[in-house]
Subunit: 500 residues, 2 copies
């Protein structure tokens, strides 16, 4: 038997798999950005046919046999091929546990559910969405049990997004977050410091905001030859290859900052994908290694860079140039303070850095109860509102601003939310290391982000999924995960802003 | 043998085929509108994999056997199933004549060629495009010979777009067009009538032009739940189902009319697809029956409706409202005359109604010579410029405004251009019949296009490809094709405008 032949066939099969991911990914991206609203009627049959074909490829007998062969000859493989084989072996062991009809049926349900969620949110009609959410929850639990019958279901779901993550670890993490941040948030609330806000809700025409998005992509060193920006309800990033990355944003006429930090956040995701190693092209390992590491990058750029005084000072003259009437009477420092104002609020994506992790804590608590069966879709709005009242002291006036605000659950993304908070903590730890090696703030003050992106590319981006999350973090900070950097950062920043 | 089972399998297989068309269509649409320019690097492998799968479906042995079975039991089939079987039998007889590797390789070449054409046009660099065009020409001729070894190659290509069309028919048609229109164009050129034009090249901000596009889609009765508008270099329309139609336009800051008539033209194509019969959903016969009939609809709305005095009078107040500075000193009549001004020009898509068919005549002559081998890609720019000089008395200052202006040839669309001119002639004949049955101009004057769209839906749209072009025309006008309506219409209109 020729190992070389097996490897060639194995690589060609990956190319085929990626072709279907590309087509399915584009159908999904398009349906959330460009497609006319009613087009989902025609989308179902196409998703059904292509996801069936994609599933068949991933469990193809010849392919599985090739993977077994490669696993039996691990020591003879180059590093990338070995990691591809290991990765696929794990995936396939899972995939084969799901009956194909259920897999295909769930793809259709997810698509319908997400479409209905868009409508339900727009019309503030949770009842419309409720039966779809119940179906999605049922599928997620069922699939998790297929995957790992002996493991707690929620741990299986967490592992989907962050390999090795467990409820036990997260319970500990969130306890620490709660202990440090809740008193800090109380001190901020009691601070007499008044942050000027009158200009933040002025009218910022959307066609001008589009110019700001373009400018920010340039500052972030995003090459627009390989990255386009689209518009959607709930911004996200998707990639079909390192040559084709799509970020999205949601323009609101009376909230310019919302778009700015959406673009920077999604831009952080995009930088990860755009700076993938060339050697990963066509490999199943092209693409970020985990949701947590991905979020560490989006939050690194959104918060640590984007909301820094240095960055705001750098971009503010451009903002004034685009919006002379709206920002002519505002100083860079006032703008800096406004985009860092902290106050408990209703909408996760618009929450400030300080209160953000409490939004995640709420979702974390609810997800555990949904998955354990303590809560069903019917109970969710009340439970949601109760926790917002309890942790943040605010109560959603309607479900669109409450339980319907996020897209994630509609397509089954249970276990995803915690990665946002973990990502922030990873990012702070990475920043501390970067500060030891680079004049980070001198660079940011000059709008010169290339060396920063280069530093991250060397340590994180170029490896794609060929390194596991813990390896990536270690490669970057030469130490195990430590949330202290995150909590210290927040304490220092908000103590200064609110003169505590 | 159960015929019912065969029919079910036959319908399910069509659904599968449509799924691949949908994905491939979206990949193509996206690459021409939303995708970042450099993304074509990652597109090739995906197109290769999916078009191979699509090709395999269309020549699948079981499917072909089912078609044979259905053809042997034609009299037992319902009308739609019989027409599907006949249509596919013809297609498959052709498809099977092309070796699969060549089919797949050509899909990749077409994609590359079109991408390079975009770049060549932008950079006015014909040399960049030339080798790709030669390859495309070679494939087109080769495939036509595979299809019909005993038929003139150009006739085979014409038949791709308009079933039954021949060089002989077109030679006669264009002779008649030339004979009637050339003297008329000369008389117009000699007319002392001066049409005011100063306002047409004022600055019309693109974000405001987007509002006009939206408004026009509404006037055309286009349901935006099922039809979206994108932006591209050379506008086109594509459809994935009657629930998902995409039109495109190309905004130019100093030419508002260019966008208006693009939207109306593509809107005409869209109306055909949006008003397809519900019974055709999922069938290979969903979609317009021929390029000529499709163009009859785009040109019907663009010219006969869109450039009528009644329509201009109806939309002009809205245009003034959007562009008060640019159009405040202009009357509706001045606007009507400006959008109907006739003068020989360089760009086909911006040509007026009267000179338009001469642009097609030039392409028709060149295509015949390219396909016969008298001309190669290398000779084309000089030959193009010579004919423009000869027929229209204008000479392109560069290839971007000459031979590089149209996308069609870059992806192998030889034989397509004549359908534009034939479409205009069909449309005029349809209009004459509609005028006998409806108060067309009274309706247009009120901006009430629904009865007009309804009339066309009844006679044309709902049948999709379940009726052949000649049947559709006959169903509409109860007479054979007659170009006299087209030529009479032009003579009457331009005699009035230019006071001949």
């Amino acid at each position: 038997m020729e190992l070389k032949e097996v490897i060639e066939r194995f690589k060609a099969h990956q190319k085929k798999m990626r072709a279907y991911w590309h087509a399915l990914g584009l159908l999904s991206y398009d349906s959330r950005t460009t497609a006319p609203k009613g087009s989902s009627k025609g989308l179902g049959p196409t998703l059904e046919v292509l996801s069936e074909a994609s599933y068949k490829l991933s469990v193809d007998e010849g392919f599985v046999a090739d993977i077994d062969t490669l696993m039996a000859h691990k020591e003879e493989l180059d590093d990338l091929t070995r990691r591809e084989a290991e990765h696929l072996y794990k995936e396939i062991s899972r995939m084969r546990k799901i009956p194909m009809e259920e897999y295909v049926a769930y793809e259709v349900v997810r698509n319908e559910s997400e479409t209905v969620w868009h409508q339900a949110k727009a019309e503030n009609n949770y009842a419309l969405f409720e039966p779809y959410l119940d179906k999605v929850i049922d599928y997620e639990r069922r699939f998790a049990r297929y995957y790992a019958p002996d493991k707690p279901v929620y741990d299986t779901l967490l592992d989907n997004y962050e390999e090795g993550m467990t409820t036990q670890v997260l319970d500990g993490y969130f306890a620490q977050v709660r202990e440090k941040l809740v008193p800090l948030i109380h001190k901020v609330a009691a601070s007499p410091v008044n942050i000027r806000e009158d200009f933040t809700t002025r009218s910022f025409p959307i066609w001008k905001q589009r110019m700001v998005s373009d400018y920010l992509m340039d500052v972030l060193t995003i090459d627009k030859s390989y990255c386009a920006i689209g518009e959607t309800e709930h911004p996200f990033t998707t990639e079909f290859s390192k040559y084709d990355v799509r970020i999205t944003t949601n323009y609101k006429e009376t909230s310019m900052a919302s778009n700015i930090f959406s673009v920077i956040h999604e831009g952080g995701h995009a930088l990860y994908e755009l700076n993938m190693g060339e050697d990963l092209t066509g490999s199943v390992l092209a693409g970020g290694t985990s949701m947590g590491i991905h979020e560490s990058q989006s939050r690194f750029f959104e918060n640590y860079i984007g909301r820094s005084r240095e960055f705001v000072n750098y971009i503010f003259p451009k903002l004034q140039e685009v919006f002379p009437e709206q920002l002519g009477d505002v100083s860079a420092e006032e703008f800096y303070l406004a985009v860092n104002k902290s106050a408990p609020s209703l909408i996760r994506t618009e929450a400030d850095e300080l209160t953000y992790s409490l939004h995640i804590l709420i979702r974390y608590e609810l997800e555990k109860q949904i998955i354990s069966g303590e809560l069903t879709a019917k109970d969710l709005p009340a439970a949601w509102n109760k926790l917002y009242e309890e942790y943040l002291g605010v109560c959603p006036p309607d479900d669109s601003q409450g339980v319907l605000q996020d897209v994630h659950w509609s397509s089954g993304g249970f276990g995803y939310f915690p990665s946002y908070s973990i990502g922030s903590a990873y990012g702070a730890q990475m920043l501390a290391q970067m500060e030891r090696e680079l004049d980070v703030w001198g660079l940011v003050a000059k709008g010169n982000l290339a060396p920063i992106v280069g530093w991250l590319t060397e340590r994180i981006y170029r490896y794609g999924s060929a390194r596991k999350p813990a390896e990536v973090l270690d490669n970057c900070v030469h130490a195990p995960f430590d949330p202290r950097y995150y909590l210290d950062y927040l304490e220092k920043k908000y103590t200064e802003i609110y003169q505590l």
